[in-house]
Amino acid sequence: MTGSVSSRYALRSLRRNLGRSLISTLGVGFGVGIGLLALSWMRGEHTMSINAAAGGGVGHLRVTPDGWDERRDDDLRLDDWEPLLERVRATEGVAVATPRNRVAGLLGLGTRSEHVDLTGVDPTTEPRALRYVRDVAHGRYLEPGERGAIVLGSKPARRLGAELGDELVVTALDEQGEMSSMLLVVVGIVETGSDDIDATIAHVALADVEQLSGRPGAGEITILADDVYALDALEARLRPLVPPGADLLTWLQVSPELRMGLEADGAFFDMAVVIILLVVLLGVTSAQLTGVLERRKEFAVLAAIGMRGVSLVKVVLVEGMVLGLTAAVSALAWAAPLSWKLNVDGVNLAALMNGEDDSGMAFGGLLIDPIFHPGFGAWMIPYAFLLALIATITASLYPAWFASRTDPAQALRVDR
């Protein structure tokens, strides 16, 4: 319709009541801008969560024994895990793949004891998959092939009164229900800044957990991807490698707390955006309807000279589209710079951490960076136009329908 008389009519009609058009544009621009900020926040939260998951040991993807997802049973083991690990490591897009196994045990030192979940790890690859053990505060991390050594988080070490070089006795139940025990020398103590996270760290060699649990093999292979934005493709490449009896899970499946947190926040933001857009939409509908009512005589004349209802609908919808396009620009004009500023500077969430210090916030067993960076990027442009056009075109539907119902005879009769 560009260049047609009817489109010129639509555009000039908007200009005719410039004040109302500007208020409508700013209203939609405000609502869409809020929507963009909410999306920016959600994207930032998603990125933060995926980074926390990746660095916090959850990984991007994980191979587990069948049934682990439902039962979360750490006694399960992968069959024939070593060739599988090699195949996974050789897959394009895999940055690191590390095996783990776990057993619940009781650590004892002198008269003190502490319940821990011992994690058997490959010392070569574990620090690449779990950032908490990259820098060990006291001592060192496990070395390849090392047996009878343990790296502890500061919380269990404190409760045991353990120091570097101390020998701890660990007792666990093996597969047959028999008590098995072992001496472990403390070679490192980790301090993440979060007691909740520190309480989860008790790393030993894979073989030590195999011995204590009486269950050979790894219970999981945790995988980090080279490119977090290509996880779907990597998942598709890995899935055929996974043998029967094993399963490939995403980070959201492995960490239901993160998933639920994201879903809850997403629902909250969605609701907030919907309410804001609804208010804006009603406002624009009202303004558009007023515009139609003011031009009732014009529409009646146009209908009288033969303009069909569908053409009148088009005129009102074109007006809505133009409002939408300008509103999208106005939304980008204020929301994009703000989003960029927040993205660059970050938002310090320390105040929300309830007693945690600035070094980290534990959530779902993961340490989350307190400096939060909302998302920013070219994706905002199509979203701005999409949201604005949906809002304004939807808002124009009723006024357009109303315009199409203009009875030329009645309108002219009233006018006289």
Partner: protein
């Protein structure tokens, strides 16, 4: 009173009634009115206020449908046409001139004329050419790019006439076309419509109270209380 006609009727109104209901109040605007309008008529509808002139024009113009009776316009029985079909009939076959000009204020004179042609699907170049041609014929070539608020009442009404005839309709309906004009402009407008009638054989039907306008008519139909009181063929007075 109606004299025999040998021309084919463009419009046949047979026993038409039109009742408007406002709340509990029923107003019978037309009461079994019958009338034929023939090609080449330059017909004045006269009568006191409330006699049904505008209602009859609305029916003939396919803007409304009768409560009962038959209204056939160019062979189309209006009671059998839906809203879209009546819009198409108006677009393709009829032209309208309104008392208050009713030009679209945000469009120029040429665009107002072009609008009808665009609705008919005429391409941009052809419709622009035709609009300028019609405006020139009505002495408005210089004013083609002016908006209605930059034109006098007489000029606006001439643009309205240009809009009405641009698509070469068979029948032009004008509701009190001179009511808002001074006597000089009213006379010029009637002369213009008369010229179009004579040169292009456009059939005109207009309602009026103005005896000077009636003087231009070749046929005068007088309505009283929603019925035809008289229907007279007459010699047109010299312009």
């Amino acid at each position: 009173m109606t004299e025999p006609q040998d021309k084919s009727p463009l419009v046949v109104v047979d026993g038409a009634t039109k009742t408007f209901v406002t709340g509990r109040l029923e107003v019978q605007a037309l009461r079994g009115l019958s009338l034929e309008i023939h090609e080449g008529d330059f017909l004045a509808l006269v009568g006191p206020s409330g006699s049904g002139k505008t209602t009859l024009l609305n029916l003939i113009g396919a803007l409304d449908r009768p409560t009962s009776g038959v209204v056939e316009v160019l062979g189309h029985d209006l009671s059998k046409l839906n809203k879209g079909q009546r819009a198409k009939l108006r677009l393709d076959e009829l032209g309208f001139v309104f008392q208050a000009y009713n030009l679209v204020p945000v469009l120029t004179a040429a665009e107002n004329v072009e609008f009808v042609l665009e609705l008919q699907g005429v391409d941009a170049k052809a419709r622009r050419k035709r609009a300028l041609e019609v405006l020139a014929e009505l002495g408005l070539a210089e004013l083609a790019d002016r908006r209605p608020n930059e034109l006098s009442g007489g000029q606006q009404q001439r643009v309205a006439v240009a809009r009405a005839i641009a698509a070469r309709p068979k029948l032009v309906l004008a509701d009190e076309p001179t009511a808002n004009l001074d006597s000089e402009n009213a006379e010029q407008l009637m002369a213009l419509m008369r010229r179009l009638h004579e040169e292009h054989e456009v059939t005109f039907v207009f309602s009026t109270h103005d005896p000077r306008v009636v003087a231009h008519a070749t046929r005068v139909v007088t309505l009283v209380d929603g019925q035809v009181d008289s229907d007279v063929q007459k010699e047109r007075e010299a312009a």
